[in-house]
């Protein structure tokens, strides 16, 4: 196995806040790494750093090359990022939107050529959006829109996919569909995936490895079985949960806390 992404003592300071503290990690080629942790733990910042969107200290290597000294365009050919809240211009057609993913492969002032159109077409096929090509984005349902966003990332033909809360706006069924899709794509095309996730049970079911972040530090790392425990979730999320382990899977169930007045 080869290393897709490697972080060595990466720190990010935003304003006066240290958002990521000397984080080191390594993601193998075709691995799916899940980032978990409470709000503000640094999950999004870590993804943005890997994509060169925030200044950082330390070193981030993407397929062996330093992110800090990479050109934006070259980095975009290797890494695709789907931010949490994506802006989908409502009047663009699905085809036009997916073609935007070809930007790193098109000359600065050029327009799409035949290879770009066929790459976009293939991405649409893979996500079963081919019949939607001419539809404006506003006419899509939430699940279809999320697939269009994924199709744009696929059209980018980057081997590393960074997903920030890819399912947060979707219902349970759509969440499963999208994650299954990502898993299929990963197996078919050998993509490396790093995703920030809120739903711990879902995260545990799909990813190869979990990384628990808290206040910018890695506090636990390993399989879902190792990382997800009642004690760690209570400590870092401040949540009372039951963790059920069955058939090799891990389920995290929130429990109602009864507050009493201390008198």
């Amino acid at each position: 196995m080869t290393v897709a992404v490697q972080l060595r003592e990466v720190s990010v300071i935003l304003g006066k806040q240290r958002v990521l503290c000397e984080t080191s990690l390594q993601v193998e080629h075709a691995e799916w790494l899940g980032l978990i942790g409470p709000n503000g733990a640094g999950k999004t910042t870590l993804l943005r750093a890997v994509n060169g969107l925030v200044p950082f200290s330390g070193s981030i290597l993407v397929e062996g090359r330093e992110v800090a000294s990479s050109k934006r365009r070259e980095l975009a050919q290797r890494v695709a990022l789907l931010p949490q809240a994506t802006r989908t211009p409502p009047e663009l057609t699905v085809a036009e939107y997916v073609l935007l993913g070809r930007t790193p492969h098109i000359g600065y002032l050029a327009t799409e050529g035949r290879t770009d159109r066929s790459a976009a077409e293939q991405a649409l096929e893979q996500l079963a959006l081919r019949p939607f090509a001419a539809r404006p984005l506003w006419s899509l349902s939430g699940g279809e829109l999320q697939r269009a966003v994924l199709a744009r990332a696929l059209a980018q033909e980057a081997r590393i996919l960074l997903l920030d809360e890819p399912t947060s706006a979707l219902d349970l069924g759509r969440q499963q569909q999208v994650l299954e899709l990502v898993d299929d794509l990963r197996r078919d095309s050998g993509l490396t995936v790093i995703s920030a996730m809120h739903d711990l049970s879902l995260a545990g079911q799909y990813v190869d490895r979990l990384l628990l972040l808290d206040r910018g530090r890695v506090v636990a790392e390993g399989s879902a079985n190792d990382v997800l425990s009642e004690a760690s979730i209570a400590a870092f999320y401040g949540a009372k949960v039951r963790v059920i382990r069955e058939n090799g899977g891990v389920l995290v169930l929130p429990q109602r806390v009864e507050y009493r007045c201390a008198r």
């Binding site: 943005r48 994509n51 060169g52 969107l53 934006r72 365009r73 070259e74 980095l75 975009a76 050919q77 890494v79 695709a80 990022l81 931010p83 994506t86 802006r87 989908t88 211009p89 009047e91 663009l92 057609t93 085809a95 036009e96 939107y97 997916v98 073609l99 935007l100 993913g101 930007t103 790193p104 098109i106 600065y108 002032l109 050029a110 327009t111 799409e112 159109r117 976009a120 077409e121 649409l124 081919r130 019949p131 939607f132 090509a133 001419a134 539809r135 006419s139 899509l140 349902s141 980018q156």
Partner: protein, 353 residues
């Protein structure tokens, strides 16, 4: 969504400009140019005018049937006026579409970052403190004022919030514009004898247009429009947001600087030769969005064609509505533009800074 998926699989490509619309916009432009040449206090029929225009083109040998006086009216009075209105209209419309794309704000116009206030200050200073004939120093001074204004707004915006946040840049523009307007008012009050001249410049117009102004503005308008038209796909990429555009490989801050510089230089040149004509940069691109497509691949090139035609027609209105006196063209565009602005505001779901 009840809409069924269409039977045949649609093509995977960007829409670009529907062919019919290019033709329509071209016809509109040519039609308004001919109308602008034909309408005036001296009646000259469309046939002889077309002949006279062809006769003046290089490498064509057609004899004009106009008398020397009529020929002078068409070629020295009306033609420069019409051509200048076309250049200014095209420039303002294209610059408006560029600003709307760069700032992802449908109500952005070419004057957003202080072009107008800067040019106003420059022109007022030139009128008040120099005795040169207005045709010479005024455009240069207005141009300089406009570019200094936007430059100051850009530097201020960058130093405060970085070029990453468009909101800071817009607020910096507001700040600089307020300051320059104050300076302009001060100069104006110092030299009240020039009030009338300053005022008529501020309202804009093509009443004194000559070929001199046309040649002054044309290179800037051509270069600036070429840069913006070349960026039409990049403007579509910017529509997904700064971060995502960056993750698609664009250097967003640099692209924004390119486009702001191009739009500013062109707008400054347009303002320098015509005064402050508002709303063109809003009316034209938005009409195209409403009737053709919201993709910048259509909006930018069609704004170039339709903007020219629009301002030529507006100028015809300005000089005929209260004939024989002329309305300032800025008043006409504002009368048309303000209600239009309201419509855009109502139909736009969210307007962020």
């Amino acid at each position: 969504m009840a809409e069924a998926a269409p039977q045949e699989t649609p093509e995977v490509r960007a829409r670009g400009i529907p062919a019919g619309w290019t033709l329509a916009a071209l016809t509109f432009l040519l039609g308004s140019l001919l109308l602008g040449l034909g309408i005036g206090p001296v009646r000259i029929g469309p046939g002889p005018i077309a002949e006279a225009v062809v006769a003046h083109l290089p490498l064509v040998h057609v004899r004009s049937h106009l008398s020397p006086v009529e020929d002078a009216i068409v070629w020295q009075l009306r033609a420069p006026r019409v051509v200048l209105a076309m250049l200014v209209g095209s420039m303002l419309a294209v610059a408006g579409s560029a600003y709307q794309g760069v700032f992802r704000n449908p109500l952005a116009d070419p004057y957003l970052l202080g072009v107008a206030a800067g040019a106003g200050l420059g022109a007022t200073v030139a009128i008040s403190y120099t005795s040169a004939r207005p045709g010479e120093l005024l455009p240069l001074s207005a141009f300089a004022g406009a570019t200094v204004g936007v430059g100051a707004a850009y530097v201020l915006g960058r130093s405060v919030g970085g070029a990453r946040t468009t909101g800071t840049l817009i607020l910096a523009g507001v700040t600089v514009a307020a300051f320059m307007t104050a300076a302009q008012t001060f100069v104006q009050q110092q030299r009240t004898q020039n009030l009338r001249e300053v005022y008529s410049w501020l309202l804009g117009g093509f009443g004194t247009a000559s070929w001199h102004e046309v040649w002054l503005a044309a290179p800037y308008v051509a270069a600036s429009s070429a840069v913006i038209v070349a960026h039409r796909r990049v403007l579509d990429v910017l529509s997904v947001g700064d971060d995502e555009a960056a993750s698609l490989g664009l250097n967003v801050a640099r692209v924004r600087l390119f486009l702001v510089v191009a739009a500013t230089v062109g707008t400054a040149a347009a303002v320098a030769v015509s005064g402050l004509i508002g709303f063109v940069g809003i009316i034209v691109p938005h009409t195209i969005r409403l009737v053709v497509s919201t993709s910048y691949r259509a909006v930018v090139p069609l704004s170039l064609l339709a903007g020219g035609g629009f301002l030529v027609l507006t100028d015809v209105l300005a000089r005929t509505l209260l004939s024989p006196s002329e309305l300032p063209i800025g008043v006409v565009t504002a009368f048309l533009g303000a209600p239009f602005f309201a419509v855009v505001l109502r139909t736009t779901r969210t307007v962020g800074l």
